[in-house]
Amino acid sequence: MIRDSFFLAFKNIRHKGLRSWLTILGIFIGITTVVALISLGNGLKDAVNAQFGISSTEVITIQAGGLNSYGPPGSGSVDPLTLEDLDAIKRLGTVERAVRRNIESGKLEFNDIVGFGFAGSIPDGEDRDFVYDMMELEAEVGRLLKDGDGKKIVLGYNFYAEGDKAGFGKRIYPGDMILLQDENFEVVGITKKQGSFLLDNMVLMNNKPLEELMGYGDNVGLIAVKVKNKDLMEEAKLEIEKTLRKTRDVDEGEENFEVSTPEAALGTVNQVLTGVGIFVGLVAGISIFVGGIGIINTMTTSVLERRKEIGIMKAIGAKNSHIFMMFFVESGLMGLMGGIVGVLFGVTIGYLGISGINNFIGIESQIKLDYMLMSLTLIGSFVIGSLAGIAPAMQAAKQNPVDALRG
């Protein structure tokens, strides 16, 4: 009987044509909004991650606090991190590896054009592999740095990209010489495109030459920590904070450093997205509610229009439950159709939005389709349609066959 109800309902919906489509408009807009927002939101999170260079989710970063409102991480701090802090962290039980990074800003000169850029240090030995791994660094052309490279540098993709993204008038190739703080360096490689403004404009060099060039001594820009086990993230964070309070002699609540897990780094982004999400969700909710009312309206009209049909069906043996199911399922199916069209449009908008963002800020984030959410959305839209159909379907079922036959 259920299958027959679906069959009859489907025939009715098809018969109504344009009116069916107009009826599902409200549901459709609501679902489109929800699906587009969530697809976009997921993509946006990825975009933001890429922008901050948080590609590996297992890494904790530590920076000194203080005057750090502008400039690369660690620079300009009154009380920078030191090698002593690094050693203390390395000794912790939850920490597998702790690596020093320094990122300095300085003058760049090439092709007689003077620019301003960031140079990041790469540590030696096994730590080098860890950093390459963490940043997912690979050479586009040439090679990456290796131990013992002195006045050699690797440049971010933008220096090499077409269209003069780095602003030096022409592309820079491995083998070119470039002036950093008025000293000559040889470019040995270009990294693959990272999708982050910071990383694609970065100059990379080994720690020793960078230290000699910039003279930061024992100061450490930031410490990247690999935790032994992903589950130990929170524990490691607390341990590191406790250790640094000791080595830097500060009380709890007055920390002059910042330990951030990937989750925390994403926190701000999530907050914004959540805010936007609540607003759009509200709009979508209203739209779906109005859509539900629209279905009630159409179904009620439909019951009145099809009184005669109801009469015929009752005369030839339809039980009240048959009539109820026919209208109830029809209503549910309209909701479901709204849901399906909504999901399709939502995903499309998500795709367009993501590619728009990608073009705008020059990254390559991917849309993330949440299939679980989509199934729930479809089920939800069927339920909304069905709920909207209850009252009209009851009205249809209780028609007196004689009166109904009269039309």
């Binding site: 098809r14 049909e309 069906m313 009752k314 005369a315 030839i316 043996g317 339809a318 009240n320 036959l405």
Partner: protein
Amino acid sequence: MQKEDENIIIRLDNISKIYEMADDVRVKAVDGISLKIKEGEFVAVMGPSGSGKSTAMNMIGSLDIPTHGKIFLDNENIAEFEESELAQLRGKKIGFIFQSFNLVPNLTTKENVMLPMIFQGLDKEERVEKAEELLKKVDLGDRMDHYPNQLSGGQMQRVAIARSLANDPEVILADEPTGNLDTKTGEMVMSFLKKLNSDGKTIIMVTHDPDLAQSHANVVYWLRDGKVEKITRRKNHIHISEKELKVRRG
């Protein structure tokens, strides 16, 4: 008496239908009708408009419950049934043919014929097979997937006949079956009804056309003002030729 009751398929026992209008006005649409319809009979219920024949027909078809009196369908008092049980019983025992065909517009011919079987819960293969068989029987084997608006009046009424036979009912209740058809098509529909009658179906036809009633039915109930005015029976059913019918109609 007992023996006689055995083959009575529908019995109306002094039934009345009273409509309460505004200002305490009561309209007696049907006022104390009693009749017995035997298996295999071709019965006509005759009367001018306003005679209560439509109301009577609704009650004969157990679509409506009388205000007073009892109706027995296959010796069962229909007042004792729940609405849905009655619908099921009706769907199984009575096939309806209406003046305005009353096909469901958004279903194909075949689906329309299948509809009564859907409500009786027959499985799909069975219904398809039966519907096709019935449509072939009414010479519409080539119109199975047409929609009602693609059919002529005569074709629609034949679909309705096929639909009325879907659950193999004992009784066919035809309400002015030729009312919306031209003479020739009407005759064709009547000949289908005659054929069903000779196959053993009980036919109850409601009409305002005395010639139609007299030429086909072996019992005619003449209604006037909600009462049975007279009953005419033919011991030997004489078929009046279509030609003669035309002459009589002028």
